[in-house]
């Protein structure tokens, strides 16, 4: 597995897209801090970018890589290697290189602008952890899609739809349900509904760490009393891990059964 991971990882490290992705975050980080110079404010702006862009790039890149390396995968399958290690290796290679680009691309400008001297360091670390999780989750989901669809166009279509669902449609349905059931107590429900969408969960986790949580009034207080505690934080991280592991498990299960 590690050989394949290493291979995929180095392959991607050499590819132009990783650099583009890395340079994009690098530029974003520097521009934000240049315009703002306030590390904690930049974290908020960055959050907006990360919760939208990271899932999108994770999905598209995952699907693209899977289809592109299909021939190589088939070659590997002909060798006496366990299927699970081939796919986990490839998955970790892609997700790892994307995460590395994200962490390095954002980390360098923030460190250059005095992150270690700022008290935003925990918010920023959380942002990176959440970003990494989103990459892992959405790459895994996109691998699932690519594996189940031989047709590339269909695969891409589903991948974009997946992103659209989690980033936009889910919130729309969530909002609709909140308005329809507004006569009922909705705190617990909204808590659960937030936990079920990794994008919403990430957004809430970061928002509650920032001053802006005061805007959320009573509902925010309910959320804070949950997410703010240690157990709430660990439950959210556990949910993110679950969101990573379930698609990964499904990927391996499907790959083992699939007739290539």
């Amino acid at each position: 597995m590690f050989k394949i991971l290493k291979y995929s990882f180095y392959d991607l490290m050499r590819s132009r897209w990783s650099y583009v992705y890395f340079l994009f975050y690098l530029a974003l980080g520097f521009v934000l801090l240049f315009l703002n110079n306030d590390v904690s404010k930049a974290v908020i702006t960055l959050m907006n970018v990360i919760i939208v862009l990271v899932p999108l790039i994770g999905t598209i890149f995952g699907v693209m890589y899977f289809y592109n390396s299909k021939e190589f995968t088939e070659l590997l399958l002909a060798l006496p290697i366990k299927r699970s290690s081939i796919f986990t290796g490839q998955y970790l290679g892609v997700a790892g290189s994307l995460t590395l680009s994200l962490v390095m691309g954002l980390g360098i400008p923030f460190i250059a602008y005095g992150l270690f001297r700022s008290n935003a360091i925990w918010d920023f670390s959380l942002l990176l952890v959440v970003g990494a999780f989103l990459t892992l989750i959405f790459t895994a989901l996109s691998f699932n899609i690519a594996l189940s669809n031989e047709n590339k166009i269909k695969g891409f279509g589903y991948a974009v739809l997946l992103w659209l669902f989690f980033a936009v449609i889910y919130d729309g349905l969530f909002l609709l349900s909140l308005i329809i059931f507004e006569d009922y107590p909705l705190d617990k429900y909204s808590l659960v509904a937030t936990m079920l969408n990794p994008v919403d969960l990430s957004r809430t986790l970061i928002l509650l760490k920032l001053d802006i949580s005061a805007l959320m009034g009573y509902t925010g207080a309910v959320f804070k009393s949950f997410f703010g505690t240690r157990s709430g934080f660990f439950i959210s991280i556990f949910m993110l891990i679950l969101w990573t592991l379930i698609p990964l498990y499904n990927l391996i299960r499907k790959a083992n059964k699939k007739d290539f």
């Binding site: 919760i51 980033a167 919130d171 802006i212 005061a214 805007l215």
Partner: protein, 410 residues
Amino acid sequence: MGKYFLLGILFLSIFSLKAKTLVVCSDCEFRSIKDAVSKSSKFDTVLIKKGTYKEFNILVDKPLTLKGENYPVVDGEDRGEIIRVVSDNVTIDGLYIINVGTSYTTDYAAIRVVKSENFLIQNVVLEKLFFGIYLEKSNNGKVYNNKINGDAVDEYNSGNGIQLWYCHNVQVDQNIVQGVRDGIYLEFSDNITINNNLSTNNLRYGLHFMFSNDDVYTNNTFENNGAGVAVMFSKKITMRNNTFSKNWGTASFGLLLKEINDAEITGNIFTNNTIGINVEGSNRINYYNNEFISNGWALKVKGACYANSFVNNNFLNNSFDLSYNSKINDNVFKENYWSNYAGYDLNKDGVGDVPYRPVKLFSYIVNRTPETIVLLRSLFMDIIDFSEKVSPIFTPDNLMDNSPLMKRIK
């Protein structure tokens, strides 16, 4: 001859009337303030030298000047009220009063003025207090340059810094009040001027009006209080050039208006408050030349508010500019600068050609179903806000600024 004699008598009597100075110190004739006050006669000065005086219930019942030299400490040892003034023309100057008693049946105060006129309380420092300066049915006085530094923790067992109850024509000027329940509290008090005060870190309100009319407050700073200023059930209050900042928390606001009529709010700065101004049931208020910077909500208008006008204000970088919970709008918004305005100005007259709608759809939805705030800063909300901006359906039609300015008002 008789005339000169009479004049001589008059001079003599004036000389004998001339005020004495009674000195209080640890090795003087008077060792306690109480003793000196009781042995003084009208219009005398009681000069208190540096030292510590463990006294409480000092009753000032004649026109006197109590003057401290180098801030003598008056320590009430938590046993009750410290100074009670029941006479006109009393001046209290330069004392350092600590350890006022706490009672839930009597509001013990460091200095209480009861039914008196022409009082002056200045340069007093209060610490470890319950109530600070308590003015009761007293008129024409001045509270000047005092420093009140409380250590209140809970609202239910703490008192107010400066409290005015049924007072008229009082000036409250250049005081620093912090760490009490309400910094300055006015109840049934009319024609009060409150200028140049600094009210910070108070548990409830920096300044609080109840049933008080025709009052003016200018150039004050309210920072980091439970809520900056609360104006309730009062008429004709003028609020000018004050700064409301960092009143930040789930139930905080810079300025709360409740049942206020005919007020004037001009030239104030609201920065970093959860809600800049929270308005409920207030009519005929002019909001001119204020700055709203980086608040959660710049304005939250609830309930019946009619005939208010918002002109020439700057709205910069607020999460929401306005929240409005009614379908009817009778308020005027014009010539404001909105940093979220995305219109254009083709004829370059400095006024935008497209009206600005300060109510976002999201803020409308949050008003209806408060739980939806969990979707704050989600992509979906940005998208529907944008679509509402293009073609408004839910927000009141006529709630808009028809002449938004292109440049910030200086």
